[in-house]
């Protein structure tokens, strides 16, 4: 080993060790837990622990709530990712326009929700979404829409939480997109304009390819984020009404930390891990096809 290599290992090893201890090892342990029936009885007495093989996984497949949680999570991701990224991109494009003044101020204001506490903002949003005296229903009333039971109707609860989540997180990607937009070549834009390209054509053929990699990154992160959505339903609805906002992670939290069925909870964690891995892989493939990566 040359001296240079030794130095390199010296730099890399601490990080590798951390990854091993806080990522690889817990993952392996969780995998080991997921093939046992570790429950509160095992906490009382290790003798009650049994090896159940794939029992937890097959058990999950016959648990209706697990499927409902999967469906809810999919709905969160399907609706939430376009909503959040679309809002971020729209806000970034608006702020990028040369005619906008006080840009730093706008950026700070729009970024602010991202750094506020989920619990505090959720309390405010619960008031906004209140059926009887919420501002949102009052505003809808002015345009003649009857009051919506946002957090009490199983069909409205996911959209209601998504409104809150989008408001909360769009600022982050907005800043990322702002950075990407400033890297779009000016001369290319000018040339397209001189060739008579419309606003939409310029966006589609000049801006979009330039910010493509950033968009892909934002999509990957958002999908992973939405698949792991937990805090928002936990503070807004406690998974209700009628478990319509119970997500996979919420289900896992309940099983694992509330009821101490760590065996089953680990099985859920493992399934979630595989899902996110597969989706990220698929997104990377799509990105490569369009030569964004």
């Amino acid at each position: 080993m040359t001296r240079q290599e030794r130095t390199a290992w010296g730099f890399v090893l601490p990080v590798l060790a951390i990854i091993l201890f806080v990522f690889a090892l817990p993952t392996l342990l969780a995998l080991a837990l997921s093939v046992t029936d570790y429950s509160i009885y095992a906490l009382a007495d290790w003798g009650a622990l049994r090896f159940v093989g794939l029992g937890n996984f097959t058990g999950l497949l016959t648990t209706p709530l697990f499927w409902r949680a999967l469906g809810n999570t999919a709905l969160f991701a399907l609706l939430g990712v376009p909503m959040a990224i679309g809002t971020s991109l729209a806000a970034a494009l608006l702020l990028h326009d040369a005619s906008v003044r006080w840009k730093p101020l706008w950026r700070v204001l729009l970024f602010a929700p991202y750094v506020t506490s989920v619990v505090a903002t959720a309390v405010v949003w619960r008031f906004l979404l209140n059926t009887r005296f919420g501002l949102l229903n009052r505003a809808l009333g002015w345009i003649g829409v009857p009051p919506v039971d946002w957090l009490g109707d199983p069909h409205a609860s996911i959209p209601a939480i998504l409104l809150f989540v989008t408001w909360k997180i769009f600022g982050y990607n907005m800043i990322v997109f702002t950075a990407a937009l400033s890297a779009v070549p000016h001369d290319l834009m000018e040339a397209a304009r001189l060739d008579g390209a419309s606003r939409w054509t310029r966006f589609r053929h000049v801006t979009l390819p330039a910010i493509g990699p950033t968009l892909l990154l934002a999509a990957v992160m958002s999908v992973a984020g939405f698949l792991q959505i937990f805090a928002e339903p936990y503070v807004m609805t406690l998974g209700g009404p009628a478990q319509s906002t119970t997500t996979v992670l919420y289900f896992m939290f309940d099983e694992g930390f509330k009821w101490w069925n760590l065996g089953q909870a680990s099985a859920v964690a493992f399934i979630l891990f595989l899902m996110i891995l597969a989706l990220t892989f698929a997104q990377a493939r799509i990105g490569r096809r369009y030569e964004w990566l």
């Binding site: 029936d37 009885y41 009490g152 807004m236 406690l238 209700g240 009404p241 509330k258």
Partner: protein, 424 residues
């Protein structure tokens, strides 16, 4: 470029200053570290918030300082479980009776060895036991569910007090609803199981069978209770609302959004505090109605337990003795409205308020709850299925089958252990 550089520098600076501030805070925290003979107490909600007011007397008498921490009810169960798994339980903590069996099973609790702690209890109140049948908790307060009602609204509907049997009670609801169609007669939050299990307890239904290893929800008596519960929502006598939706039930009660609110004794404190909104003359309490008149109701009694791994068990038991003394329980009653578990406290004039009479009567008729690990979860999951019936997603008979199925699955591990003779 320059902008980015500035940003990075700014970020670096702030990060450094944050780190500095944090380490300073940590150092400060270390300096103010509690003395080694301090014992710790965890209690939920108001009990936790107000416990510090009872501590000076204890510390004066024994010289032991006490550190109190409040837990929210919604997160208490998981917080206590993780604390046991992580060996960081406090010396003394509060548990609702339904959790005592569970925490005794996992070895978190020390058994009550001093019989004096368990004497002089209010009739009907008894110490919660563990799987081995020994007492593991000292009863502290009792909270049976009663109904709070608006006297003025009921009077306008022609009632001096709420009727005592289900059918007349529902008829009163219909009359109230007819007088104010935009408001409701009852408030029973859909994610709380207490009202459903109150009704079920009054029918005398046994929720579990075969040594508590299987669900018994298809019992016709439980069916009656569920059907009655659901009918109140179907007839729009109660709003299908979750606890997260009704942010301020006291204000809603004061506004007359609903006329009857089944709840425990702590609501009396909120009502007294907000007498400006709802004067004491406007409300009163009565026992919950039963199928043919009031019956047995499960009281969510709070107990105090001592951790099996407490390093200062003598001081911990002394604190339990102090907190469960009639004098402390009366102080609590005055401060936060909880009802004493000691009979001696009930003999004082302080508890002879008319609003407390319903509680005293109800406390004499408690139901016996299954003392098993899964009971807390069973109640929550049964309520989830009941919520789906209320929302019209499930029929009553399908729901009862679903309840039994679900409960049988939850009890699978227990069943295996009982059959193997490792549990009773």
């Amino acid at each position: 470029m320059t902008y980015g550089g500035k940003l990075a520098r700014a970020a670096g600076w702030s990060r450094r200053s944050v780190v500095a501030a944090l380490s300073m805070a940590a150092a400060g925290g270390c300096a103010a570290r509690r003395s080694p003979d301090t014992i710790s107490l965890w209690a939920m909600s108001y009990e936790g918030d107000y416990s510090p007011m009872l501590m000076p007397g204890f510390t004066r008498a024994t010289g032991v300082p006490v550190e109190v921490q409040t837990l929210p009810w919604t997160a208490a169960h998981e917080k206590l479980l993780t604390a046991q798994a992580g060996d960081s339980l406090p010396d003394v903590f509060m548990l609702p009776d339904g959790w005592v069996g569970e925490f005794a099973l996992i070895g978190a609790l020390a058994p009550v060895t001093d019989p004096a702690l368990l004497t002089g209890l209010f009739p009907g109140v008894s110490a919660a036991t563990g799987p081995d049948g020994r007492p593991y908790a000292v009863p502290w307060s009792v909270a049976p569910q009663v109904q709070y009602y608006r006297r003025d609204l009921l009077e306008r509907a022609g009632y001096a007090a709420p009727p005592e049997d289900w059918d007349s009670w529902r008829r009163m609801g219909q009359r109230l609803k007819a007088r104010a169609p935009d408001d409701y007669a009852f408030l029973m939050l859909l994610n709380w199981w207490d009202s459903l299990f109150t009704f079920a307890g009054q029918t005398g239904a046994n929720p579990l069978r075969e040594r508590d290893t299987r669900g018994n929800f298809r019992d016709p008596r439980f069916r009656d209770a569920l059907a009655f519960y659901v009918s109140l929502f179907r007839e729009r006598l109660a709003p299908p609302a979750l606890s997260t939706e009704v942010q301020d039930p006291v204000a809603a009660f004061a506004q007359g959004y609903f006329a009857v609110y089944p709840y425990g004794p702590t609501l009396t404190l909120d009502l007294h505090r907000r007498a400006a909104e709802i004067p004491a003359a406007l409300w009163s309490t009565a026992r919950m109605p039963g199928p043919q008149g009031p019956g047995r109701v499960s009281g969510i009694a709070a107990s105090l337990c001592v951790s099996a791994r407490s390093r200062r068990p003598a001081a911990a038991w002394a604190l339990v003795r102090h907190l469960t003394s009639p004098a402390s329980e009366l102080t609590y009653q005055r401060l936060i409205g909880t009802l004493p578990a000691r009979a001696a406290a009930w003999a004082t004039p302080q508890l002879r308020q008319p609003a407390l009479a319903a509680f005293a009567e109800q406390m004499r008729a408690p139901t016996r709850e299954p003392m098993i690990v899964e009971w807390e979860r069973i109640r929550i999951e049964v309520q989830l299925i009941a919520e789906r019936v209320v929302r019209g997603q499930l029929g009553i008979d399908a729901a009862l089958v679903a309840m039994d199925d679900r409960v049988d699955r939850l009890l699978a591990k227990r069943r295996a252990l009982v059959e193997a003779g490792r549990l009773t």
